[in-house]
């Protein structure tokens, strides 16, 4: 085989590996931020496969939408909720994949987490987690109790589909190189034959924006007098336990925030 075909096979191997490794890493790693990054790597792998299939505008569109838009959304949501980080790692025995994908994380006390999730301390005081054995105050694990069954179900679905695709291989394949100017063809179709779908998608985006903003609004009437009360309390972060390792900075967070208020 000549260089072009070898390059195609190599590129397919690389991108397929990136997609599947990214998806696996997303489900098994112990930190939610890393899950977001692995999901993005998986999307980039699939976009590479799109470009290999000569749908280049679609590949670029996939990268832009999933990274520029959706991942920003996911990252902001990760910042709002509790990221377990590496805290649980020292106390759990994990299967090989999880240990590999969480390998860069260290168990530690992270100072920033307590200052950015104010709800957390109220969470501890109000709720008694009776059905979790060790009351560590934070989430125990990333996985539900259904994990073994879920793994078997996932494996079954995968094997069923792979066998279907392998055992019925007679698709009517056409040996035809598509038009290279894909953006022109897509544009003409979007404005011609699929104008209704295009405008309908635009209308749906508008409704989605409106719905999301309405759902996430502060929950009080604009005229009620306690609307501007903060929904979270600015608490002092608890003192970190004595670390044998010295801290990287001697930070006084209160002073940092007061200083930035003065400079504005």
């Amino acid at each position: 085989m000549n260089l072009g075909e070898a390059a195609q096979i190599f590129a397919f191997g690389v991108f397929a590996f990136i997609s599947i490794a990214g998806a696996l890493g997303m489900t098994t790693t112990m930190s939610m931020f890393r899950s977001g990054i692995f999901l993005m790597a998986s999307f980039i792998g699939v976009a590479g496969l799109f470009i290999l299939l000569m749908a280049d505008l679609l590949g670029m569109l996939q990268i832009m939408m999933y990274i520029g838009g959706m991942l920003v959304m996911i990252l902001f949501m990760v910042l709002f909720s509790n990221d377990p980080g590496g805290d649980m790692m020292a106390s759990m025995k994990m299967p090989f994949l999880e240990r590999f994908f969480s390998s860069g994380l260290l168990p530690q006390k992270k100072i920033h987490r307590d200052s950015h999730s104010h709800h957390n301390s109220r969470n501890n005081n109000n709720q008694a987690d009776k059905d979790e054995g060790m009351n560590m105050g934070m989430d125990m694990s990333m996985f539900t109790s259904l994990k073994p069954y879920a793994a078997w179900i996932g494996l079954t679905v995968t094997i069923v589909f792979v066998l279907l695709f392998l055992l019925f291989p007679d698709w009517p394949v056409k040996n035809f190189i598509p038009d290279q100017d894909s953006s022109h063809r897509i544009g003409m179709l979007l404005m011609g034959k699929y104008m209704m779908a295009f405008e309908g998608a635009g209308l749906m985006i508008l409704l989605g924006i409106y719905g999301a903003i309405y759902l996430a609004r502060p929950g009080k009437h604009p005229d009620s007098k306690d609307r501007n009360d903060p929904s979270s309390i600015n608490e002092e972060p608890p003192q970190a336990a004595e670390d044998p390792i010295e801290p990287f900075y001697n930070i006084n967070l209160k002073e940092l925030y007061e200083k930035s208020e003065d400079e504005k």
Partner: protein
């Protein structure tokens, strides 16, 4: 043989451009502001509790995004890295990776100011991406193509800065947002103790410096391609004109930026969503009207 020669020429010219940018910067600035990555620690610091995959990956991703984005910029009539049919779209998408790199670096070092800086940089991404798209649509509409060589060759009669001044102004402002220069410097400023750069010392800080200066050069080069007509010009060879126009746009960006006060993240988002996006939509409307009247294009 020709491919290797042109590849070598492209690499040489871009490295030269980046290095000259790093050297010229102190001469061009009228205030003490030196750019985001100038104050990295001198000795080789490693933070105590990093997330080591993300921390080590960040400078590499930044450098990769800068290198990959410089592929579509044409330096001479037949001297571009690759003339992709969707070149401009590819450029916008790849520049987004710089934001990803800074976010990885911010989270990975596990120091409170870095993480705060990471949040503000993602907010800056949200602020610049829609006005940039609206500013860049003007040249695409007039040239009827997304390939950079086609955009340059369709400016042979009239440069786009003359027919789309609003688009050019929008491109300059969002370009400043993309490269983290004044007035959009807050994630890297003294308020946050230099942001994520303070946790990268030694050679990693220098890698950040190369990436962040290089991206200023590349954004200015793309501005020259889109609005000033790229390598076309009467007497001198193509790459000399390209260098002159790139540095002209670069000097204009820095000069305008340093006249203004530093904007905080909230004010920057307000500026983007309340002023720049309506201006962008107005720009698209005006360009459409101009095309219907027959100005520009073939």
């Amino acid at each position: 043989m020709g491919i290797i020669l042109s590849l070598a020429a492209v690499i040489l010219l871009f490295s030269a451009g980046t290095l000259i940018t790093i050297l010229i910067e102190p001469m061009l600035s009228t205030t003490d502001e030196e750019g985001p990555a100038s104050n990295s620690p001198k000795n080789n610091i490693y933070p105590v509790h990093p997330d080591s995959w993300l921390y080590n990956a960040a400078p590499a991703v930044a450098l990769a995004s800068m290198a990959a984005a410089s592929v579509v910029i044409p330096i001479d009539k037949s001297l571009a890295g690759a003339d992709i049919g969707i070149g401009l779209f590819y450029f916008i998408v790849i520049i987004d990776y710089m934001v990803l790199a800074v976010a990885l670096g911010g989270w990975g070092s596990n120091v409170p100011e870095s993480i705060e800086s990471c949040y503000r940089i993602i907010a800056q991404l949200v602020a610049y991406v829609v006005p940039l798209g609206l500013a860049v649509i003007g040249p695409i509409m007039m040239a009827k193509s997304m390939s950079t060589q086609n955009i340059i060759s369709s400016q042979s009669s009239l440069w786009y800065i003359v027919s789309q001044p609003l688009g050019f102004a929008l491109y300059i402002i969002t370009g400043l947002m993309q490269v983290y220069r004044a007035p959009f410097l807050e994630p890297f400023s003294n308020i946050l103790n230099n942001g994520i750069i303070s946790t990268y010392g030694g050679w990693r800080g220098k890698l950040w410096r190369i990436s962040l200066s290089g991206i200023l050069f590349i954004v200015a080069a793309m501005g020259a391609v889109l609005f000033l007509g790229g390598w076309s010009g009467p007497l001198l060879p193509g790459f000399v004109w390209m260098a002159i126009k790139t540095f002209a746009v670069l000097i204009l960006m820095k000069w305008i930026g340093q006249r203004m006060k530093l904007l905080s993240t909230a004010r920057m988002l307000e500026l983007s969503w309340k002023i720049l996006i309506p201006a962008g939509l107005l720009n698209v409307l005006i360009v459409g009207g101009l095309i219907l009247m027959g100005v520009g294009g073939k």
